[in-house]
């Protein structure tokens, strides 16, 4: 079914159209959000396959929960919350199944063959630094820095107060600074 909306339509307009049965709007939403979510999940999970699965699951849940979307509300925090819930669920199940963290740690960061070594190393460095953060801090950095969400929205997504989010962010940035910036100064 071709959508009456074009690429200039807002996320919310597309979602409204999708709720009204416009399948093409779902495709447009996927094209907009899947790359963002893929980057998010790759950074969190460090597994290409898992990241893809979580992104698909997120959209599957968006599809299933579409009737809960309130017209007039923002779509981005809605989708992000679903994705973050799935990431957390994944870690919890992983822990429950007693799969050693070693398996996760030894997984290489997602890499593209065609990338220069230096860029790949940078990516690896970033992944390693983020991995040293507790999950609660990592998800705040992910949403605040990488996804450019304001603290109020991050708080809504992770289900805590804005104050708590600011504290987590402050601690996370301090740790990252120590890991990423001090290391360069040390080299110099």
């Amino acid at each position: 079914m071709p959508t009456s909306l074009d690429a200039s339509a807002t996320d919310e307009e597309l979602m409204d159209a999708y709720i009204d049965g416009d399948d093409a709007a779902f495709r447009l939403l996927f094209e907009r959000y899947a790359p963002i979510l893929l980057r998010l999940t790759r950074r969190h999970l460090r597994s290409e396959e898992l990241a893809e699965e979580i992104v698909q699951q997120t959209f599957f849940r968006v599809h299933g929960a579409r009737n809960d979307f309130r017209r007039g509300s923002k779509l981005r925090p809605w989708v992000m919350t679903i994705a973050m819930n799935l990431v957390r669920e994944h870690w919890r199940r992983k822990k429950r199944r007693k799969v050693t963290t070693l398996e996760v740690e030894t997984q290489a960061a997602p890499e593209a063959e065609f990338m220069p070594i230096e860029i790949r190393q940078r990516s690896q460095l970033l992944h390693e630094a983020l991995e040293k953060l507790p999950t609660s801090q990592r998800e705040v950095v992910e949403l605040h820095w990488f996804q450019e969400r304001p603290y109020a929205e991050v708080a809504k997504i992770v289900g805590t107060s804005e104050g708590a989010v600011r504290v987590r962010a402050h601690r996370a940035y301090a740790t990252l600074k120590q890991l990423l910036v001090s290391e360069i100064r040390g080299e110099e």
Partner: protein
């Protein structure tokens, strides 16, 4: 990357470094997006064709209404087909216990049907809810009942406890089933649904069973909640869902 007044984020040095490192993240290509979307579309279509998919894609209000209809149906069935306890037994503690079970059952139902776009509840809250649910059924066994009735039902307590347990489990199964049918996959949904099933069984037994001795309530009533939670908990631990 982040901009605006909201930033009390990383200092410029770290910001610059993060930007530099993030450049190493590779973008998603079109072919990958196409494949992912096509797989997703297949899953969505498959789900839309199934009853479970249909029920789960209803709005949260609708899903809760479905549960309430099923609960009401079960309640009416129990009211019409099973005799209520004698009026002399319907004291304050009896009413209080029923209300406590009912409140916990409603809370469990709300947790199971919690919309997936809301942040999931902390694990400790879920654990507390399940403990309260099972704990309430155990505590109910120690609430002193009518001594006159206790004296008249001393015989064959093991058999009576078995019958009560059977009834409780029979009622709990449809409650568990309906909760799972509308559960969109919340964390610990199965465990909370199991606790709700145990509570529903206990609610029915409390309303209809005239034996209120501690041993009978423990063996015949509270065991229903324990069996549901422990049994289904083990099943899900051994056979993890996809």
């Amino acid at each position: 990357m982040t901009s605006g007044e909201d930033i009390a984020g990383p200092d410029p040095g770290l910001g610059e470094r993060l930007r530099e490192l993030e450049a190493g993240e590779f973008p998603a290509d079109g072919a990958l997006m196409d494949r992912m979307f096509s797989e997703l579309k297949t899953e969505c279509e498959k789900s839309d064709k199934s009853l479970i998919g249909y029920l789960r894609s209803r709005s949260t209000m609708a899903r809760r209404a479905i549960i309430l209809i099923v609960f009401t149906g079960l309640g009416v069935f129990a009211l019409l087909k099973l005799p209520m306890v004698e009026e002399s037994m319907r004291d304050t503690s009896w009413v209080g216990t029923l209300i406590a079970f009912l409140v916990l059952l409603v809370v469990a139902m709300m947790v199971v049907t919690r919309p997936v776009h809301r942040p999931e509840l902390p694990r400790w809250q879920i654990v507390c809810l399940v403990c309260f649910a099972v704990g309430a059924t155990v505590i109910a066994a120690f609430i002193p009942g009518s001594s006159a009735h206790a004296a008249t039902h001393q015989h064959a307590s093991g058999v009576m406890a078995g019958i009560c347990m059977g009834f409780g489990i029979l009622l709990g199964i449809p409650v568990y089933a309906v909760l799972r049918l509308v559960d969109r996959g919340n964390a610990f949904g199965s465990l909370v649904a199991a606790a709700a099933a145990g509570l529903a069984g206990n609610l029915l037994l409390k309303a209809h069973c005239a034996i209120d001795t501690t041993s009978h309530v423990l063996l015949g009533h509270a065991s229903v909640a324990v069996l549901f939670v422990v049994g289904l908990g083990l099943v899900h631990r051994l056979i993890p869902s996809k």
